[in-house]
Symmetry: C2
Subunit: 265 residues, 2 copies
Amino acid sequence: MDISRSLLGCCLVLAFAAQISLARQLSVQAHANDLVWSHDHWFKLSFNTKAYCLGWMKNVEANNIKNWDLIPLNCYSTVKKYMEQGQYWVDLSVAGDAAWTYLSTFKADGHDAVMFDIDETLLSTLEYQRDISVYGTTLFNSTAFDSYVAQGISPAIKSSLALYNKLKDAGFKLVICTGRKEQLRAVTEKNLQAEGYTDYTELVLKTEEYNGLTAAVYKSMARAKLVKEKGYVFRTCVGDQFSDCAGDAKGEDTFKFPNPMYYIK
Amino acid sequence: MDISRSLLGCCLVLAFAAQISLARQLSVQAHANDLVWSHDHWFKLSFNTKAYCLGWMKNVEANNIKNWDLIPLNCYSTVKKYMEQGQYWVDLSVAGDAAWTYLSTFKADGHDAVMFDIDETLLSTLEYQRDISVYGTTLFNSTAFDSYVAQGISPAIKSSLALYNKLKDAGFKLVICTGRKEQLRAVTEKNLQAEGYTDYTELVLKTEEYNGLTAAVYKSMARAKLVKEKGYVFRTCVGDQFSDCAGDAKGEDTFKFPNPMYYIK
Protein backbone atom coordinates (compact mmCIF):
# COMPACT_ATOMS: atom_id res chain seq x y z
CA MET A 1 0.00 0.00 0.00
CA ASP A 2 2.75 2.38 0.97
CA ILE A 3 4.74 1.34 -2.09
CA SER A 4 1.81 1.83 -4.47
CA ARG A 5 1.13 5.28 -2.97
CA SER A 6 4.78 6.20 -3.40
CA LEU A 7 4.67 4.98 -7.01
CA LEU A 8 1.53 6.99 -7.68
CA GLY A 9 3.16 10.08 -6.16
CA CYS A 10 6.25 9.50 -8.19
CA CYS A 11 4.22 9.16 -11.41
CA LEU A 12 2.34 12.37 -10.67
CA VAL A 13 5.59 14.23 -10.11
CA LEU A 14 7.05 12.84 -13.35
CA ALA A 15 3.90 13.69 -15.30
CA PHE A 16 3.96 17.22 -13.90
CA ALA A 17 7.64 17.63 -14.78
CA ALA A 18 6.99 16.32 -18.30
CA GLN A 19 4.11 18.75 -18.68
CA ILE A 20 6.31 21.67 -17.61
CA SER A 21 9.03 20.55 -20.00
CA LEU A 22 6.54 20.27 -22.87
CA ALA A 23 5.03 23.66 -22.09
CA ARG A 24 8.50 25.18 -21.98
CA GLN A 25 9.39 23.56 -25.31
CA LEU A 26 6.20 24.85 -26.91
CA SER A 27 6.82 28.27 -25.49
CA VAL A 28 10.34 28.32 -26.92
CA GLN A 29 8.96 27.19 -30.28
CA ALA A 30 6.32 29.91 -30.25
CA HIS A 31 9.03 32.33 -29.27
CA ALA A 32 11.28 31.24 -32.14
CA ASN A 33 8.37 31.63 -34.54
CA ASP A 34 7.87 35.17 -33.32
CA LEU A 35 11.46 35.97 -34.23
CA VAL A 36 11.07 34.42 -37.65
CA TRP A 37 7.81 36.25 -38.15
CA SER A 38 9.32 39.59 -37.26
CA HIS A 39 12.24 38.95 -39.49
CA ASP A 40 10.40 37.76 -42.57
CA HIS A 41 7.91 40.55 -42.32
CA TRP A 42 10.18 43.50 -41.74
CA PHE A 43 9.14 44.85 -45.13
CA LYS A 44 5.49 44.77 -44.06
CA LEU A 45 6.35 46.82 -40.99
CA SER A 46 8.37 49.26 -43.02
CA PHE A 47 5.10 50.30 -44.66
CA ASN A 48 3.62 51.08 -41.27
CA THR A 49 4.00 54.86 -41.03
CA LYS A 50 4.57 55.09 -37.30
CA ALA A 51 7.18 52.30 -37.31
CA TYR A 52 8.92 53.92 -40.28
CA CYS A 53 8.89 57.34 -38.58
CA LEU A 54 10.31 55.95 -35.33
CA GLY A 55 13.01 54.30 -37.45
CA TRP A 56 13.64 57.56 -39.27
CA MET A 57 13.98 59.44 -35.96
CA LYS A 58 16.37 56.86 -34.52
CA ASN A 59 18.50 56.90 -37.66
CA VAL A 60 18.69 60.69 -37.52
CA GLU A 61 20.17 60.44 -34.01
CA ALA A 62 22.61 57.75 -35.18
CA ASN A 63 23.82 60.15 -37.89
CA ASN A 64 22.74 57.75 -40.62
CA ILE A 65 20.33 60.22 -42.19
CA LYS A 66 22.01 63.51 -43.06
CA ASN A 67 21.46 66.75 -44.97
CA TRP A 68 17.68 66.77 -44.82
CA ASP A 69 15.64 69.95 -45.24
CA LEU A 70 12.26 68.80 -43.96
CA ILE A 71 11.11 65.84 -41.93
CA PRO A 72 9.26 63.21 -44.00
CA LEU A 73 5.85 64.88 -44.19
CA ASN A 74 3.96 61.74 -43.20
CA CYS A 75 6.01 61.70 -39.97
CA TYR A 76 4.50 64.96 -38.71
CA SER A 77 2.22 63.38 -36.13
CA THR A 78 4.91 60.96 -34.89
CA VAL A 79 7.41 63.78 -34.42
CA LYS A 80 4.77 66.02 -32.80
CA LYS A 81 3.84 63.27 -30.34
CA TYR A 82 7.49 62.63 -29.56
CA MET A 83 8.06 66.31 -28.84
CA GLU A 84 4.88 66.90 -26.86
CA GLN A 85 4.18 63.73 -24.96
CA GLY A 86 7.34 63.60 -22.89
CA GLN A 87 9.72 61.12 -24.55
CA TYR A 88 11.78 64.02 -25.93
CA TRP A 89 12.46 65.36 -22.42
CA VAL A 90 13.34 61.91 -21.17
CA ASP A 91 15.79 61.37 -24.05
CA LEU A 92 17.37 64.77 -23.31
CA SER A 93 17.64 63.89 -19.65
CA VAL A 94 19.32 60.54 -20.37
CA ALA A 95 21.72 62.33 -22.76
CA GLY A 96 22.57 64.90 -20.08
CA ASP A 97 23.22 62.14 -17.56
CA ALA A 98 25.48 60.37 -20.05
CA ALA A 99 27.52 63.55 -20.52
CA TRP A 100 27.88 63.92 -16.75
CA THR A 101 28.91 60.25 -16.39
CA TYR A 102 31.73 60.96 -18.83
CA LEU A 103 32.78 64.39 -17.55
CA SER A 104 32.68 63.47 -13.85
CA THR A 105 35.78 61.33 -14.47
CA PHE A 106 37.86 64.48 -15.13
CA LYS A 107 39.43 66.58 -12.42
CA ALA A 108 38.98 70.05 -13.87
CA ASP A 109 42.14 72.08 -13.29
CA GLY A 110 41.06 75.53 -14.46
CA HIS A 111 41.65 74.99 -18.17
CA ASP A 112 39.17 72.15 -18.74
CA ALA A 113 36.21 73.41 -20.68
CA VAL A 114 32.95 72.22 -22.15
CA MET A 115 31.30 73.81 -25.15
CA PHE A 116 27.52 74.02 -25.28
CA ASP A 117 25.24 74.98 -28.12
CA ILE A 118 22.12 77.02 -27.16
CA ASP A 119 18.95 76.16 -29.09
CA GLU A 120 17.63 72.67 -28.32
CA THR A 121 20.69 72.19 -26.08
CA LEU A 122 20.55 74.73 -23.21
CA LEU A 123 17.32 76.47 -24.17
CA SER A 124 14.24 75.09 -25.89
CA THR A 125 12.65 76.81 -28.89
CA LEU A 126 9.82 74.32 -28.89
CA GLU A 127 7.15 77.02 -29.05
CA TYR A 128 8.71 78.36 -32.25
CA GLN A 129 9.08 74.87 -33.64
CA ARG A 130 5.44 74.10 -32.95
CA ASP A 131 3.95 77.36 -34.24
CA ILE A 132 6.26 78.42 -37.09
CA SER A 133 8.42 75.49 -38.16
CA VAL A 134 5.45 73.14 -37.49
CA TYR A 135 7.88 70.51 -36.21
CA GLY A 136 10.12 70.54 -39.24
CA THR A 137 7.44 70.44 -41.93
CA THR A 138 8.20 73.97 -43.20
CA LEU A 139 11.53 75.35 -44.39
CA PHE A 140 13.70 77.40 -42.02
CA ASN A 141 12.72 81.07 -41.97
CA SER A 142 15.56 83.12 -40.48
CA THR A 143 13.46 86.31 -40.14
CA ALA A 144 10.78 84.51 -38.15
CA PHE A 145 13.40 82.71 -36.06
CA ASP A 146 15.25 85.93 -35.23
CA SER A 147 11.93 87.55 -34.22
CA TYR A 148 11.26 84.64 -31.90
CA VAL A 149 14.77 84.83 -30.40
CA ALA A 150 14.38 88.60 -29.93
CA GLN A 151 11.54 87.95 -27.49
CA GLY A 152 14.01 86.25 -25.13
CA ILE A 153 11.42 83.75 -23.93
CA SER A 154 13.08 80.37 -24.57
CA PRO A 155 12.85 78.21 -21.45
CA ALA A 156 15.81 76.24 -20.10
CA ILE A 157 15.90 72.53 -20.79
CA LYS A 158 15.90 71.50 -17.13
CA SER A 159 18.11 68.45 -17.49
CA SER A 160 20.66 70.61 -19.35
CA LEU A 161 20.55 73.23 -16.61
CA ALA A 162 21.21 70.47 -14.07
CA LEU A 163 24.20 69.27 -16.12
CA TYR A 164 25.47 72.83 -16.54
CA ASN A 165 25.32 73.48 -12.79
CA LYS A 166 27.09 70.22 -11.94
CA LEU A 167 29.90 71.11 -14.37
CA LYS A 168 30.14 74.61 -12.89
CA ASP A 169 30.44 73.12 -9.38
CA ALA A 170 33.08 70.69 -10.65
CA GLY A 171 35.21 73.60 -11.89
CA PHE A 172 34.76 73.34 -15.65
CA LYS A 173 34.87 76.48 -17.76
CA LEU A 174 31.57 76.79 -19.56
CA VAL A 175 31.73 78.05 -23.12
CA ILE A 176 28.57 78.72 -25.10
CA CYS A 177 28.70 78.87 -28.88
CA THR A 178 25.59 79.44 -30.95
CA GLY A 179 24.52 79.96 -34.54
CA ARG A 180 22.44 82.95 -33.33
CA LYS A 181 23.66 86.22 -34.82
CA GLU A 182 25.91 88.64 -32.92
CA GLN A 183 23.12 91.27 -33.12
CA LEU A 184 21.07 89.08 -30.78
CA ARG A 185 23.73 89.07 -28.03
CA ALA A 186 21.92 91.27 -25.48
CA VAL A 187 18.62 89.41 -25.63
CA THR A 188 20.38 86.04 -25.68
CA GLU A 189 22.42 86.93 -22.58
CA LYS A 190 19.29 88.12 -20.79
CA ASN A 191 17.42 84.95 -21.72
CA LEU A 192 20.29 82.68 -20.58
CA GLN A 193 20.69 84.50 -17.26
CA ALA A 194 16.94 84.54 -16.59
CA GLU A 195 16.85 80.79 -17.12
CA GLY A 196 19.71 80.14 -14.71
CA TYR A 197 22.70 79.87 -17.05
CA THR A 198 25.11 82.12 -15.17
CA ASP A 199 28.91 82.32 -14.89
CA TYR A 200 29.76 81.08 -18.38
CA THR A 201 33.17 82.34 -19.46
CA GLU A 202 32.43 82.83 -23.17
CA LEU A 203 29.37 83.43 -25.27
CA VAL A 204 30.26 83.14 -28.94
CA LEU A 205 27.66 84.31 -31.46
CA LYS A 206 27.96 84.23 -35.24
CA THR A 207 29.74 87.39 -36.40
CA GLU A 208 29.98 88.53 -40.00
CA GLU A 209 33.46 87.02 -40.39
CA TYR A 210 31.81 83.58 -40.32
CA ASN A 211 29.14 84.43 -42.91
CA GLY A 212 28.79 81.86 -45.65
CA LEU A 213 30.46 79.13 -43.64
CA THR A 214 28.61 76.07 -42.43
CA ALA A 215 27.88 75.78 -38.70
CA ALA A 216 30.38 72.91 -38.55
CA VAL A 217 33.21 75.08 -39.90
CA TYR A 218 32.25 78.18 -37.89
CA LYS A 219 32.03 76.30 -34.58
CA SER A 220 35.23 74.36 -35.22
CA MET A 221 37.06 77.65 -35.99
CA ALA A 222 35.59 79.30 -32.89
CA ARG A 223 36.83 76.45 -30.65
CA ALA A 224 40.28 76.42 -32.24
CA LYS A 225 40.54 80.19 -31.72
CA LEU A 226 39.63 79.90 -28.03
CA VAL A 227 42.19 77.13 -27.55
CA LYS A 228 44.90 79.18 -29.23
CA GLU A 229 44.13 82.58 -27.73
CA LYS A 230 42.85 81.68 -24.27
CA GLY A 231 44.26 78.25 -23.48
CA TYR A 232 40.99 76.36 -23.11
CA VAL A 233 41.21 72.57 -23.12
CA PHE A 234 37.88 71.31 -24.43
CA ARG A 235 36.97 68.01 -22.78
CA THR A 236 33.74 67.65 -24.64
CA CYS A 237 31.17 69.41 -26.75
CA VAL A 238 27.40 69.16 -26.34
CA GLY A 239 24.91 70.02 -29.06
CA ASP A 240 21.73 68.87 -30.75
CA GLN A 241 23.40 68.95 -34.19
CA PHE A 242 26.35 66.91 -35.43
CA SER A 243 27.68 70.20 -36.82
CA ASP A 244 27.91 71.60 -33.28
CA CYS A 245 30.72 69.21 -32.45
CA ALA A 246 32.60 68.39 -35.66
CA GLY A 247 36.15 69.36 -36.57
CA ASP A 248 38.82 70.72 -34.24
CA ALA A 249 39.21 70.88 -30.46
CA LYS A 250 35.93 69.19 -29.63
CA GLY A 251 37.28 66.82 -26.99
CA GLU A 252 37.65 63.06 -27.15
CA ASP A 253 33.97 62.33 -26.81
CA THR A 254 31.05 64.50 -27.81
CA PHE A 255 27.34 64.35 -26.98
CA LYS A 256 24.47 64.59 -29.43
CA PHE A 257 21.20 65.73 -27.92
CA PRO A 258 18.03 64.57 -29.70
CA ASN A 259 16.42 66.74 -32.35
CA PRO A 260 14.11 65.24 -34.97
CA MET A 261 12.91 68.67 -36.19
CA TYR A 262 15.75 70.20 -38.16
CA TYR A 263 19.22 69.52 -39.50
CA ILE A 264 22.01 72.12 -39.71
CA LYS A 265 25.13 71.47 -41.78
CA MET B 1 -37.99 91.60 -44.29
CA ASP B 2 -35.23 90.76 -46.73
CA ILE B 3 -32.83 93.12 -44.93
CA SER B 4 -33.57 91.66 -41.49
CA ARG B 5 -33.10 88.11 -42.85
CA SER B 6 -29.81 89.17 -44.38
CA LEU B 7 -28.77 90.71 -41.06
CA LEU B 8 -29.75 87.56 -39.20
CA GLY B 9 -27.78 85.45 -41.67
CA CYS B 10 -24.81 87.76 -41.35
CA CYS B 11 -24.95 87.58 -37.55
CA LEU B 12 -25.09 83.80 -37.65
CA VAL B 13 -22.07 83.69 -39.94
CA LEU B 14 -20.15 86.10 -37.68
CA ALA B 15 -21.11 84.16 -34.57
CA PHE B 16 -19.97 80.94 -36.21
CA ALA B 17 -16.68 82.52 -37.28
CA ALA B 18 -16.15 83.90 -33.77
CA GLN B 19 -16.86 80.46 -32.33
CA ILE B 20 -14.28 78.87 -34.62
CA SER B 21 -11.76 81.57 -33.73
CA LEU B 22 -12.39 81.06 -29.99
CA ALA B 23 -12.13 77.30 -30.32
CA ARG B 24 -8.89 77.73 -32.20
CA GLN B 25 -7.53 80.08 -29.55
CA LEU B 26 -8.44 77.67 -26.77
CA SER B 27 -6.91 74.83 -28.67
CA VAL B 28 -3.66 76.79 -29.05
CA GLN B 29 -3.72 77.62 -25.34
CA ALA B 30 -4.29 73.99 -24.41
CA HIS B 31 -1.51 73.11 -26.79
CA ALA B 32 0.92 75.57 -25.15
CA ASN B 33 0.02 74.17 -21.74
CA ASP B 34 0.83 70.69 -22.95
CA LEU B 35 4.32 71.83 -23.87
CA VAL B 36 4.81 73.43 -20.48
CA TRP B 37 3.45 70.36 -18.78
CA SER B 38 5.79 68.06 -20.66
CA HIS B 39 8.69 70.28 -19.93
CA ASP B 40 8.14 70.83 -16.23
CA HIS B 41 7.47 67.17 -15.69
CA TRP B 42 10.34 65.61 -17.58
CA PHE B 43 11.69 64.33 -14.28
CA LYS B 44 8.40 62.54 -13.61
CA LEU B 45 8.65 60.81 -16.96
CA SER B 46 12.25 59.90 -16.38
CA PHE B 47 11.02 57.63 -13.58
CA ASN B 48 8.77 55.80 -15.99
CA THR B 49 10.74 52.66 -16.82
CA LYS B 50 9.62 52.28 -20.41
CA ALA B 51 10.28 55.96 -21.22
CA TYR B 52 13.69 55.73 -19.57
CA CYS B 53 14.55 52.55 -21.49
CA LEU B 54 13.50 54.04 -24.83
CA GLY B 55 15.71 57.02 -23.96
CA TRP B 56 18.55 54.70 -23.02
CA MET B 57 18.23 52.84 -26.33
CA LYS B 58 18.17 56.05 -28.36
CA ASN B 59 21.19 57.42 -26.53
CA VAL B 60 23.09 54.19 -27.20
CA GLU B 61 22.52 54.69 -30.94
CA ALA B 62 23.60 58.35 -30.67
CA ASN B 63 26.88 57.16 -29.10
CA ASN B 64 26.14 59.07 -25.90
CA ILE B 65 26.19 55.94 -23.74
CA LYS B 66 29.42 54.00 -24.11
CA ASN B 67 31.40 51.16 -22.59
CA TRP B 68 28.50 49.30 -21.02
CA ASP B 69 28.65 45.61 -20.13
CA LEU B 70 24.99 44.85 -19.61
CA ILE B 71 21.79 46.61 -20.54
CA PRO B 72 20.05 48.28 -17.55
CA LEU B 73 18.34 45.21 -16.07
CA ASN B 74 14.98 46.93 -15.73
CA CYS B 75 15.07 47.53 -19.49
CA TYR B 76 14.93 43.83 -20.33
CA SER B 77 11.28 43.80 -21.39
CA THR B 78 11.61 47.04 -23.41
CA VAL B 79 14.65 45.72 -25.29
CA LYS B 80 12.99 42.32 -25.82
CA LYS B 81 9.87 43.97 -27.24
CA TYR B 82 11.97 46.18 -29.49
CA MET B 83 13.86 43.16 -30.83
CA GLU B 84 10.85 40.88 -31.24
CA GLN B 85 7.96 43.06 -32.23
CA GLY B 86 9.37 44.44 -35.45
CA GLN B 87 10.71 47.94 -34.75
CA TYR B 88 14.27 46.57 -34.80
CA TRP B 89 13.87 45.31 -38.38
CA VAL B 90 12.31 48.58 -39.45
CA ASP B 91 15.20 50.58 -37.92
CA LEU B 92 17.69 48.29 -39.70
CA SER B 93 15.82 48.72 -42.96
CA VAL B 94 15.83 52.53 -42.67
CA ALA B 95 19.56 52.42 -41.83
CA GLY B 96 20.25 50.26 -44.90
CA ASP B 97 18.28 52.66 -47.08
CA ALA B 98 20.26 55.59 -45.67
CA ALA B 99 23.53 53.85 -46.55
CA TRP B 100 22.29 53.25 -50.09
CA THR B 101 21.16 56.89 -50.43
CA TYR B 102 24.73 57.92 -49.62
CA LEU B 103 26.57 55.28 -51.64
CA SER B 104 24.41 55.58 -54.75
CA THR B 105 26.00 59.01 -55.33
CA PHE B 106 29.38 57.35 -56.06
CA LYS B 107 30.36 55.96 -59.42
CA ALA B 108 32.31 52.90 -58.35
CA ASP B 109 35.42 52.57 -60.53
CA GLY B 110 36.76 49.21 -59.43
CA HIS B 111 38.61 50.39 -56.34
CA ASP B 112 35.65 51.74 -54.39
CA ALA B 113 34.88 49.46 -51.49
CA VAL B 114 32.50 49.12 -48.58
CA MET B 115 33.35 47.31 -45.38
CA PHE B 116 30.65 45.34 -43.61
CA ASP B 117 30.66 43.76 -40.19
CA ILE B 118 28.85 40.38 -39.89
CA ASP B 119 26.92 39.84 -36.66
CA GLU B 120 23.89 42.14 -36.34
CA THR B 121 24.98 43.75 -39.63
CA LEU B 122 24.82 41.13 -42.42
CA LEU B 123 23.63 38.17 -40.33
CA SER B 124 21.41 38.13 -37.26
CA THR B 125 22.37 36.23 -34.12
CA LEU B 126 19.04 37.05 -32.55
CA GLU B 127 18.37 33.44 -31.55
CA TYR B 128 21.62 33.40 -29.57
CA GLN B 129 20.85 36.79 -28.06
CA ARG B 130 17.42 35.62 -26.96
CA ASP B 131 18.44 32.23 -25.54
CA ILE B 132 21.95 32.77 -24.20
CA SER B 133 22.68 36.47 -23.83
CA VAL B 134 19.01 37.01 -22.83
CA TYR B 135 19.02 40.30 -24.73
CA GLY B 136 22.07 41.73 -23.04
CA THR B 137 21.21 40.86 -19.45
CA THR B 138 24.03 38.31 -19.10
CA LEU B 139 27.74 38.85 -19.70
CA PHE B 140 29.29 37.82 -23.03
CA ASN B 141 30.29 34.15 -23.08
CA SER B 142 32.75 33.54 -25.91
CA THR B 143 32.54 29.72 -25.67
CA ALA B 144 28.76 29.77 -26.01
CA PHE B 145 28.94 32.33 -28.82
CA ASP B 146 31.52 30.32 -30.77
CA SER B 147 29.34 27.20 -30.39
CA TYR B 148 26.41 29.13 -31.77
CA VAL B 149 28.47 30.46 -34.69
CA ALA B 150 29.78 26.95 -35.40
CA GLN B 151 26.23 25.85 -36.22
CA GLY B 152 26.22 28.23 -39.20
CA ILE B 153 22.54 29.01 -38.80
CA SER B 154 22.47 32.81 -38.57
CA PRO B 155 19.86 34.21 -40.96
CA ALA B 156 20.56 37.16 -43.24
CA ILE B 157 19.17 40.51 -42.22
CA LYS B 158 17.04 40.96 -45.32
CA SER B 159 17.41 44.72 -45.62
CA SER B 160 21.20 44.28 -45.40
CA LEU B 161 21.14 41.62 -48.09
CA ALA B 162 19.19 44.03 -50.30
CA LEU B 163 21.78 46.77 -49.67
CA TYR B 164 24.65 44.32 -50.29
CA ASN B 165 23.16 43.23 -53.62
CA LYS B 166 22.56 46.80 -54.77
CA LEU B 167 26.19 47.68 -53.98
CA LYS B 168 27.37 44.57 -55.83
CA ASP B 169 25.34 45.57 -58.90
CA ALA B 170 26.73 49.11 -58.65
CA GLY B 171 30.29 47.76 -58.88
CA PHE B 172 31.50 48.22 -55.30
CA LYS B 173 34.04 45.81 -53.85
CA LEU B 174 32.49 44.17 -50.83
CA VAL B 175 34.80 43.58 -47.89
CA ILE B 176 33.62 41.74 -44.82
CA CYS B 177 35.48 42.14 -41.54
CA THR B 178 34.34 40.38 -38.39
CA GLY B 179 35.36 39.86 -34.78
CA ARG B 180 34.67 36.12 -35.31
CA LYS B 181 37.83 34.05 -34.94
CA GLU B 182 39.86 32.79 -37.92
CA GLN B 183 39.10 29.19 -36.81
CA LEU B 184 35.44 29.84 -37.70
CA ARG B 185 36.20 30.79 -41.32
CA ALA B 186 34.77 27.70 -43.04
CA VAL B 187 31.45 27.74 -41.22
CA THR B 188 31.18 31.53 -41.54
CA GLU B 189 31.77 31.35 -45.31
CA LYS B 190 29.18 28.59 -45.63
CA ASN B 191 26.67 30.59 -43.58
CA LEU B 192 27.24 33.78 -45.60
CA GLN B 193 26.93 31.99 -48.95
CA ALA B 194 23.82 30.07 -47.88
CA GLU B 195 22.18 33.34 -46.90
CA GLY B 196 22.97 34.99 -50.23
CA TYR B 197 26.13 36.95 -49.47
CA THR B 198 28.20 35.93 -52.48
CA ASP B 199 31.04 37.52 -54.45
CA TYR B 200 32.65 39.43 -51.59
CA THR B 201 36.30 40.10 -52.30
CA GLU B 202 37.64 39.78 -48.75
CA LEU B 203 36.55 38.04 -45.60
CA VAL B 204 38.73 39.17 -42.72
CA LEU B 205 38.45 37.22 -39.46
CA LYS B 206 40.33 37.91 -36.24
CA THR B 207 43.68 36.15 -36.38
CA GLU B 208 46.04 35.71 -33.44
CA GLU B 209 48.10 38.74 -34.47
CA TYR B 210 45.19 40.92 -33.38
CA ASN B 211 44.74 39.22 -29.98
CA GLY B 212 44.46 41.62 -27.08
CA LEU B 213 43.52 44.56 -29.29
CA THR B 214 40.12 46.19 -29.15
CA ALA B 215 37.77 45.63 -32.08
CA ALA B 216 38.20 49.31 -32.99
CA VAL B 217 41.99 48.93 -33.33
CA TYR B 218 41.84 45.53 -35.05
CA LYS B 219 39.31 46.66 -37.66
CA SER B 220 41.08 49.94 -38.29
CA MET B 221 44.37 48.06 -38.83
CA ALA B 222 42.67 45.55 -41.12
CA ARG B 223 41.25 48.33 -43.31
CA ALA B 224 44.54 50.22 -43.45
CA LYS B 225 46.31 46.99 -44.48
CA LEU B 226 43.84 46.36 -47.31
CA VAL B 227 44.23 49.94 -48.54
CA LYS B 228 48.01 49.66 -48.52
CA GLU B 229 48.39 46.14 -49.91
CA LYS B 230 45.44 45.90 -52.29
CA GLY B 231 44.51 49.47 -53.20
CA TYR B 232 40.96 49.48 -51.84
CA VAL B 233 39.34 52.89 -51.45
CA PHE B 234 36.80 52.54 -48.67
CA ARG B 235 33.82 54.78 -49.32
CA THR B 236 32.02 53.77 -46.17
CA CYS B 237 31.86 51.26 -43.38
CA VAL B 238 28.72 49.63 -42.02
CA GLY B 239 28.45 48.01 -38.61
CA ASP B 240 26.26 47.70 -35.54
CA GLN B 241 29.10 48.86 -33.24
CA PHE B 242 30.92 52.19 -33.24
CA SER B 243 34.11 50.14 -32.99
CA ASP B 244 33.37 48.59 -36.40
CA CYS B 245 33.98 51.92 -38.09
CA ALA B 246 36.44 53.93 -35.99
CA GLY B 247 40.00 54.90 -36.89
CA ASP B 248 41.62 54.70 -40.33
CA ALA B 249 40.30 54.28 -43.85
CA LYS B 250 36.64 54.08 -42.92
CA GLY B 251 35.35 56.47 -45.59
CA GLU B 252 33.90 59.93 -45.14
CA ASP B 253 30.61 58.76 -43.70
CA THR B 254 29.91 55.60 -41.78
CA PHE B 255 26.66 53.87 -40.86
CA LYS B 256 25.71 52.58 -37.42
CA PHE B 257 23.10 49.84 -37.44
CA PRO B 258 20.94 49.54 -34.31
CA ASN B 259 21.94 47.21 -31.51
CA PRO B 260 20.65 47.73 -27.97
CA MET B 261 21.92 44.32 -26.75
CA TYR B 262 25.69 44.59 -26.47
CA TYR B 263 28.59 47.00 -26.75
CA ILE B 264 32.04 46.10 -28.12
CA LYS B 265 35.00 48.42 -27.60
